[in-house]
Symmetry: C2
Subunit: 214 residues, 2 copies
């Protein structure tokens, strides 16, 4: 069934995907530390050890490379944190794993600059355009995921019916924002407080509340 | 007792203070919106309608003008929010007024750029120097004030003995940081959630807890 033409196309596609992945591995690390504005085709070419022309063929212009890097970092976070969480047995366990997974992700410096979306949200807060739109879409999506996990846990009667999902989402994201800043400036005390505060909010929201661990 | 020399000196000092206050009123508004980096002696001179030489005589160099503006904004906040709070009768009332006062201050756009310290903390997070040191000193002082108000309310048995002051401080400041960003990007929903979350944390920490208002 598959002609030699198809095989050649598949082979080229596989090589192209591998080259893209290799370049994105470098661009994600650069952008994690220096921001998406730190990315230029020349810089990424030099660090990845490939020609500038290759990057242009594989990605297009600089903005396309920035967008691909942003999406790659988010995909990496989803694979590392969200997917394992979604594999847990109950809605509350999925929610807890998703929230705690973020702290583990940042604490382990899985990406050297901490939470990628937090960093670029700050970087692009006053720069309208396609990159800002894409950042906002990712933020909205992450927020919706967190909210849905809370709603599911309420439906399963693992979280109390009187808990306001939007407020709990706001609180958990506020702690994460505080923790990300704390982590980057090396304030381990505040990072630990944020992690504990998140855990306490979830324990408190649970149908069987545990005592405040403060 | 007072010689004419002293009277002349006092008169000059009064005129100098008035001129300083007039210039700081302009520089604080500029810095609130554009950051302390938006301040140059020329820019402030033009907006305040005074000569550049006057500003140099009254303040010194550009950095001295930036530091004076920072300190003036903090003093303004203290006069507007902290002092009225400290006039309340009980420790818990003082704490509540201090926390709610911050939200009222930002919501009313008392300064056009919202919370001055939040804005310049972000602006100077990677710029070591005298301005960053002064910002950090103000942050530390505000944090200590909040912590002391919580400790006093615990001592007065208005806040429960099992409440961890450091964690409550972290939570309240995380909500403020989230609220300040929300306010600046026009997200009134998140601002309201932050305000409500703060109030709920304090009500929850009170010896006679009120139900979660979410």
């Amino acid at each position: 069934m598959s002609s030699s033409l198809t095989q050649n196309t598949d082979g080229r596609r596989a090589r192209g995907n591998k080259a893209r992945a290799q370049i994105l591995a470098h661009s994600t690390i650069i952008a994690s530390v220096e921001g998406l504005e730190g990315l230029t085709i020349g810089r990424v070419a030099a660090e990845a050890g490939v020609g500038k022309g290759n990057i242009q063929v594989l990605f297009g212009d600089r903005e396309a490379l920035q967008l691909a890097t942003l999406n790659d970092a988010v995909e990496f976070y989803k694979t590392t944190v969200l997917e394992p969480a979604l594999g847990k047995e109950t809605p509350f366990a999925r929610l807890l794993s998703f929230v705690e997974g973020w702290y583990a992700f940042v604490a382990a410096r899985t990406l050297p600059g901490g939470c990628f979306i937090s960093a670029v949200s700050s970087e692009y807060r006053a720069r309208p355009g396609r990159i800002q739109d894409q950042i906002n879409a990712h933020r909205k999506s992450q927020r919706a995921t967190l909210r849905n996990l809370i709603i599911e846990a309420k439906k399963a009667e693992e979280i109390r019916a009187d808990i306001d999902a939007d407020m709990l989402v706001f609180e958990l994201l506020a702690y994460q924002a505080g923790a990300n800043v704390a982590s980057l400036i090396g304030d381990e005390g505040d990072f630990a407080l944020a992690r504990l505060a998140s855990r306490c909010r979830l324990d408190w929201a649970a149908v069987t509340p545990r005592p405040y661990a403060g």
